[in-house]
Amino acid sequence: MDLVQEYYQADWQTCLCPLRSGIIKEVLTIKRGWIIPVIIAVIVAGVFGYWGYGQYRAKRELEMFMGNKYQQSFYGMVDHIEQVQVLLGKALVSSSPRHSIMILTDVWSHANTAQAELNKLPLAAQTVYQTAKFLSQTGDYAHVMANQQAEGKVMTTENRQKLQELRQHAIKVAESLQDVERRVFAGDINWVNLVKQAGENVREQQKEGEPDPLNGLEDVREEMGKVPVLIYDGPFSDHVVDRKPRGLTGEEIDKEQARTRARKMVDFKEEGELNISEGTSVNGRITSYNFQVKNGDNEVYSVDISKKGGHLVSLLNNREPASSKISLEEAVDKARDYLAINGYPNMESTYSEVKDNIAYISFAYQQDDTIFYTDIINVQVALDQGQILAVEALGYLMSHQSRELESPEIAEEEAKEMAQNTLDEIENVRLAVIPQPSLKEVLTYEVRGTAAGETYLIYYNAITGDEEQILKVILGQEGTFAL
C-alpha cells in the first residue's frame, strides 16, 4: 500500500517537473516488477470485458431474435386456431353450397397453417404430437367436406355432428392457449430457455418423471386425448394409418420355415460360406421374421418374411455395384422373372430410374389389361451382375386381393375425347385402377399425352367420367418418373 502511494506521488511529481525525470526513471525501474503486471491486468481485463460484453450483447440479440421468431409462430398459431373454430361455426350455419365450400376450404388452410406454426415451436414431440394431428385431421376433414359439396353431395347429419365436435375441441384448445398466451405475454414462458433446457429436461425426466414445464399446453394435451377416432375419405383418416394387410394369404409359418424361405430369396452371385442369422421379430404392419444373410464376401442381405403365408416382404443388400454391364431392359426382365418365381406373377414395370449403377424399377400388378397402381412392388437391380439387390413388397401385400373387375361405363373413345380438350397429342390410353387418398380403389382410363411439350397422365373415372387425377411425367436425367 505504501509503495503504491509512493509511486503515485513520484508519478505526480514527474508531470510537474520533467527535469527530474532521471530520478523518476530510477523509481520506475525499481517499481517495474509491480506496475507492469497491474497495467497488463487492467488492459487484459478491459479487453476481455469489452469482448465479453460484445459477446453478451451478440448473444442477447440472437436470443431475442430467436425468441421473437418463436413468439411470431406462437401468436400465429393461436390466431389460426381461433379462425378454425370461428369458420367451423360459420360452415355449420351456411346453407349455400358455394359459400360453404369457400368456408370449409378456409378451415383447411387455417388448420394447416396452424399446424405448421405449432411445429416451429421448440416443444417436445409428446407436447405437440396430438395437437398437430388434431389440426391436420380437422383441416383434412373440412377439405373432404368441401370436395363432397363440390361434387354436388349434401352434408349429412353425421358430417355436421363431426364438424360440431371438432369445433368444440378447437374452442377448448383455443381457450387453453389463451392461458398460455397470457403467460407468454407476462414473460413466464421463455422459448429460448425451453431450447436450452431441452437437453437437461431429457435427463431430469428420465429420473423423476417431471411434468412438462408448460402447464397450459398440458391442458391442450389432455383435451386432445378426448378427440375421437376420425374415419372419413381423407389421407389423414385414422383408418389409413391403422390399416390391415389384405394380401396375406396362407397359413402361419414357423421360424425355421421362414429361414428356409429367406435362404431361397437371396440372390448372391458368389455365395461362399453362407451365414444366416437366428432371426428376429418385426412387429410392423405385417408381422414378420427378419434374417441377416451374409456370404463369404461380407455382403449382407436383410430379409423380411411374413409370419402369415411366408411372403417376401422386403429384401435389402448393402453392396454398391461399381460398373454397369447390362441394360435397363435386361434388368427389368430379370426383376420381373425374380418376382414371378418368388410368388408375385403378373407384374408390369411402370417407372424406372438408373443411378449409381443401380436400376430402381417400380412394378404394378396387371390383370386382364388393367393395371393396378394400388399393388406396387419396387425392385433394385445391380447393373454389373444383374443381381436383385432389393425388393419392397409391403405396399403390394397391404392392398392386393382377388378382385371382381368392374366393367367401365364410359367408352375408351370418350375418355380420349375428353382428354383431347386439353392435350395436344394423345399417346396411349389404358384401364388403370388408382388409389384415392382414402385408399379407396377407382377404375379409371389412364390417358397419356402431351400439352405444350410436357407429358401428362390424366385419369378419368371409367364409371362416372369424372376427372380423378393428373400426373406430370418428368423425363429427367435420373430417369422417368411421375409427379
Partner: protein, 237 residues
C-alpha cells in the same frame, strides 16, 4: 392461390399415391374443358351432361349422347333451379354449375416450360442423405434406410410437418441438426439409403420415432409401440 397451397395440398391429398406409385408427386388440378352444347349436339360431352343431370335427378332419359328434347327440358330445368340464364345452351356458366370447366382450351402461358423444368428430386435426396449421415453413420445399410424412411413417414403423418425440410428443421427433433452435424457431407452409402427410402423402401413399416436406447431419452418415447431394432436404433410408431 394454387401455388401457395400447392405443397400442402399435394402432400395432403396424394399421400397414398406418393408412396405407392413412385417417389414424390406434384399434382396439378385442371378440370377438363367442355365445349358449348345446344339442341342437336352429339358426342361424349353430351353423355357427360346427361349422366350428370341424371345423377342429380334432372333427367330420366337414356345416356345416348344426343342432345334432344328430353335433354333440353332437363337443361332448362337445371338452369332455372340454379338461377342461370334459361336458354337451353350449355355454355361455360352452365358447365361450371354442373361441376365442369366450360371454356374451350386452357390458357397456355407456360409455353417456354420444357421437360422437367424447375423440378428436382436431388435436393430432397441430398437433405435426406445428410440426415442419414448425421444420425446413422456406421449403422448397417438397412438402419440407414430406416432412418430416411422415418423421416418420410413423418412427412406423411398428420402429427408432423408436411415437407422434408419442415421435418428436418423442426426444433428439438434431431440432435444432429441442433449441433450442426447435419451440415457434414453425406457419402455414397447414405445417398443410396436416401434414394431407396424415397423409392418406397421402409424397413420400419411406418415408424415415426427412432432412438438409441443406450442414450438418455425422454420417458414418454418408451410409451410408443416399438416395431423393431436395427443396429443401435429402436424404431417405433
Amino acid at each position: 392461390m394454387l401455388k401457395n397451397r400447392g405443397i400442402l395440398k399435394v402432400i395432403a391429398i396424394n399421400l397414398t399415391l406418393m408412396i405407392l406409385i413412385l417417389s414424390v408427386f406434384y399434382i396439378t388440378r385442371i378440370n377438363a374443358a367442355q365445349p358449348t352444347l345446344t339442341w342437336g349436339s352429339r358426342g361424349s360431352s353430351v353423355r357427360i351432361l346427361q349422366r350428370r343431370l341424371r345423377q342429380w335427378g334432372y333427367y330420366d332419359g337414356s345416356v345416348d349422347g344426343i342432345y334432344g328434347s328430353e335433354s333440353y327440358r332437363a337443361v332448362l330445368n337445371f338452369q332455372r333451379k340454379n338461377r342461370l340464364r334459361v336458354d337451353g345452351i350449355v355454355g361455360p356458366q352452365t358447365w361450371r354449375a354442373l361441376g365442369y370447366r366450360g371454356s374451350t382450351r386452357l390458357a397456355r402461358t407456360a409455353r417456354t416450360v420444357s421437360g422437367g423444368a424447375g423440378i428436382s428430386r436431388s435436393n430432397d435426396i441430398e437433405m435426406l442423405a445428410r440426415l442419414v449421415h448425421a444420425e446413422a453413420r456406421g449403422e448397417p445399410f438397412e438402419g440407414q434406410v430406416a432412418v430416411a424412411a422415418v423421416l418420410l413417414n413423418r412427412v406423411d403423418s398428420a402429427s408432423f410437418p408436411n415437407s422434408i425440410s419442415g421435418v428436418i428443421y423442426q426444433p428439438l427433433a434431431f440432435e444432429s441438426v441442433a449441433n450442426g452435424q447435419f451440415y457434414l457431407p453425406a457419402d455414397s452409402e447414405n445417398v443410396r439409403a436416401a434414394r431407396s427410402a424415397l423409392n418406397g423402401w421402409d424397413p420400419t413399416h411406418g415408424a415415426v420415432f427412432f432412438w438409441n436406447p443406450a442414450k438418455p431419452v425422454n420417458r414418454w418415447i418408451w410409451s410408443r409401440s416399438i416395431i423393431r431394432r436395427i443396429g443401435r436404433h429402436v424404431f417405433a410408431r
